[in-house]
């Protein structure tokens, strides 16, 4: 009996020692710091916010603004596109408001008009002259944002590359999201998403916790067998839960339609979709792309939804050829 008590005591001591070796985490330890917390990060101040942003290439060259997906993801998985700086372009990246390493604002203050206003402000921040051409390269939600911008300002943008936008109306987007979401309640994906609620709770403005939880949930996008066709994990800095939830809630409540003025945009548009995203496909691509009067549709082989990260070598010649023709 005494031996047993000794063994249990030793095990408890060893356990306590091992536990004490590791740091006790706070919410701030769960996610990377934003530009407000780490002054060494590249950033810009525009209007009422502080954005994580960097640029590559000659600032006087034609500008390509790269727009990331989500809403609520960041530009880290799109950094292959900085390669375009070697081809004579000025390439600009920024994490949209409340995403990635950019400043967090209260959820209630967020609305869709800010996404256009922030893009305008980013362009103004980097633009060196009135005749400097501005191109957009948008992935997923970023391609929707690019279209929203062109729909608002049909004469401002010299060309646009759209990589698998969910849709340009709420109906199109809803249809895509429903297809890409795995809804089998007996399956691993759904249970992985819901089971976390008993481990960590977060209020909508507990940004660190909410962003961390969204990162856990978003892992289904690169889990084996994911419907988006992603070959594995891809890099990101930090998800933005508040913007993700607010944009989705607003869209479900009010809907949206980014297509009303697209007929005015007669510049050729490059629209691409991936070979392996089974939730997307040519039919959906054609339906979404049809809103533009002059659109060229291409499939990027060997990749799922994360086209820029997994298939840059296939995507790059299409992008470069397109921009060079409009430069």
């Amino acid at each position: 009996m005494k031996t047993r008590i000794k063994l249990v005591s030793m095990a408890l001591l060893a356990g306590s020692f091992l536990a004490s070796c590791e740091k006790e985490l706070t919410p701030k330890d769960l996610v990377p710091k934003t530009v407000d917390e780490d002054s060494s990060l590249p950033s810009i101040y525009i209007s009422d916010t502080h954005l994580h942003s960097e640029s590559y290439g000659n600032p006087d060259s034609a500008m390509i603004v790269v727009l990331h997906g989500g809403p609520g993801v960041d530009y880290r998985s799109l950094l292959n596109a900085k390669d375009l700086a070697n081809e004579g372009y000025f390439v600009v990246f920024y994490d949209q408001r409340n995403t990635g390493l950019s400043r967090r604002h209260p959820k209630s203050s967020l609305h869709i008009q800010q996404t256009i206003d922030d893009l305008s402000a980013v362009i103004q921040h980097y633009k060196r002259s009135a005749n400097q051409k501005v191109f957009l390269l948008g992935h997923s939600w970023g391609a929707m944002l690019a279209t929203e911008y062109i729909n608002t300002y049909p004469t401002q943008i010299a060309g646009v590359v759209l990589a698998e936008p969910g849709g340009f109306t709420w109906e199109q987007t809803k249809a895509y999201v429903q297809k890409s979401r795995q809804s089998n309640v007996l399956g691993e994906t759904v249970n992985d998403a819901t089971y976390t609620d008993q481990f960590i709770n977060s209020d909508e403005n507990d940004h660190e916790l909410a962003d961390y939880k969204l990162a856990i949930l978003s892992a289904s996008g690169y889990a084996p067998g994911n419907t988006q066709g992603n070959a594995g994990s891809y890099p990101f800095w930090r998800f933005g839960s508040a913007i993700f939830n607010k944009m989705n809630e607003d869209a479900a409540k009010d809907g949206f339609d980014f297509t009303q003025n697209l007929h005015q945009y007669t510049t050729p548009v490059l629209f691409v979709y991936s070979e392996l995203n089974t939730s997307y496909g040519e039919q959906h691509a054609r339906e979404v792309a049809a809103a533009y009067p002059n659109v060229h549709l291409e499939m990027v082989r060997g990749t799922g939804h994360e086209i820029v990260y997994f298939a840059w070598n296939n995507f790059r010649p299409m992008v470069l050829n397109y921009f060079n023709n409009l430069k």
Binding site: K23, V185, F199, N201, D203, A219, S233
Partner: protein, 222 residues
């Protein structure tokens, strides 16, 4: 026609229950010769889950049952997520057919996906007040499931992209209140039960993604 079949089935079931030597799952129906039980549950408990349990009644003046439960959510990777509860319950008071029960359990939970692995130690406290008759019972319940401390470890994929991500204990973690109803019938040495209720997070401001729980169980006493 469907209504007719339903009525026939309901009558047949009620006759069967009445004619059997029915046992409730209340304290009066855990006699010493059937003081142990095993149970099997399926339902929704933060995921579609399946669980098994074992319990035994102590020979004490105040009725006490010690029990343990193991449950896991369904899916391709069965053992990456699970929950173990070890605890006890006691009948605090009895007024005629009414009884009040207090339950306390220690909880250990595990979760893993390709972003993180979490191990959590927690506790669960709940109370039940119900009306118990021979052959059936109905009760209301209210409780709090607290995740006290969670050990977080980043997956290899996360470490690859975020080498600075830390592993460690995260203490101000989470908790959920639950409230609902449960009912059951007894057939010989078997008890069949249903629990159904709602979940609310500890700050009362938000709810879990699926804010409900449902448990359908069968218990065998021996």
């Amino acid at each position: 026609m469907k209504k007719f079949i339903f009525i026939i089935c309901a009558i047949a079931l009620s006759l069967f229950i009445k004619s059997s030597s029915a046992q409730n799952i209340n304290w009066r129906n855990l006699p010493d010769e059937q003081a142990r039980f095993v149970n099997l549950n399926v339902g929704w408990d933060f995921g579609s889950t399946i669980g098994i349990g074992y319990g035994t009644k102590l020979k004490t003046k105040l009725p006490v049952v010690l029990n343990t439960e193991f449950s896991l959510p369904l899916g391709k990777n069965l053992l990456d997520d699970f929950k173990v509860k070890v605890g006890g319950q006691t009948e605090l008071f009895r007024l005629g057919n009414f009884s009040g029960t207090l339950k306390i359990a220690g909880v250990f939970r595990r979760y893993e996906n390709n972003f993180t692995r979490m191990l959590n130690f927690g506790s669960e406290f709940s109370g039940e007040i119900g009306y118990y008759k021979q052959g059936w019972y109905a009760a209301g319940e209210f409780g709090f499931d607290k995740a006290i401390a969670t050990h977080i470890k980043s997956s290899p994929e996360t470490k690859e992209y975020m080498p600075t991500s830390l592993n460690g204990w995260y203490v101000p973690t989470g908790g959920n209140f639950f409230y609902g109803i449960q009912t059951g019938v007894s057939v010989k040495k078997n008890d069949f039960s249903v629990r159904l209720g709602k979940l609310k997070t500890q700050d009362f401001k938000s709810s879990p993604m699926i804010p409900f729980y449902l448990q359908i169980g069968v218990k065998r006493r021996f």
